[in-house]
Symmetry: C2
Subunit: 134 residues, 2 copies
């Protein structure tokens, strides 16, 4: 596992995983505590079907995950990874390397976004909401 | 305004506002784009009353705001603010100074938490949800 991580961080120039800052570690903590428990619950709800109660947990999960990706993607795209910076020359240098690393993290933003839009737009899940408005 | 900010950052040893890292700036961006527009909408909904449709926006707002506070509070509590660190000696040194700064940021976590719990627990807003489960 450590070799895999070393290969990944060097290959993808992922400075965040190489020397995780405190803020990044706090998100790993979030993932363990709030996001992982959601997966079995959601899997159950979607396989069983007809579980409207999954709407609110799914909205909370997707908003929380998407929010954690905002600083991660911003850092990958805009952070100063020069030798003078906190990352001491680790991390992507060229714009191409930054985009490469963004493509690694982007799915963790897009999949919750799709889930959120699905929960907000799907007539089955929002049907009650609609009635509330009337 | 700049004097006020200077006074605050020096008085409260807020290294995040003194030299905002990219990840912290991305949250300031979130606040402007997603959180500020929520306030007039929520004010309208709560003053008008009976607006069940505010439930989902309120949940999204509070989860998003609380999530941004996790790395901020973690950094204030656990980050290395020594001269050798990225913050170059700026920021709270003693545990008391850290707690003092946490007390500044804590309301931005607690108020959304209260709003979230209110929206999840209040029988008026969750009444439809309940019916869904049955």
């Amino acid at each position: 596992m450590r070799n895999l991580r070393q290969w990944y961080t060097e290959e993808f120039k992922d400075a965040l995983l190489q020397n995780p800052p405190v803020w990044f570690k706090s998100f790993l903590f979030c993932e363990l505590v709030f996001q992982l428990p959601f997966f079995p619950i959601a899997t159950y709800a979607f396989f069983k079907g007809g579980c409207r109660w999954i709407r609110t947990p799914a909205i909370i999960y997707s908003v929380q995950t998407m929010t954690t990706l905002i600083p991660i993607l911003s850092t990958v795209l805009l952070e100063d990874f020069s030798n003078a910076s906190c990352f001491k020359g680790q991390g992507p240098k060229t714009f191409h390397e930054r985009l490469f690393l963004i493509s690694v993290y982007m799915p963790y933003f897009l999949i919750p976004l799709i889930l959120l839009l699905f929960m907000l737009q799907n007539p089955y899940y929002k049907s009650e909401e609609k009635r509330k408005k009337k």
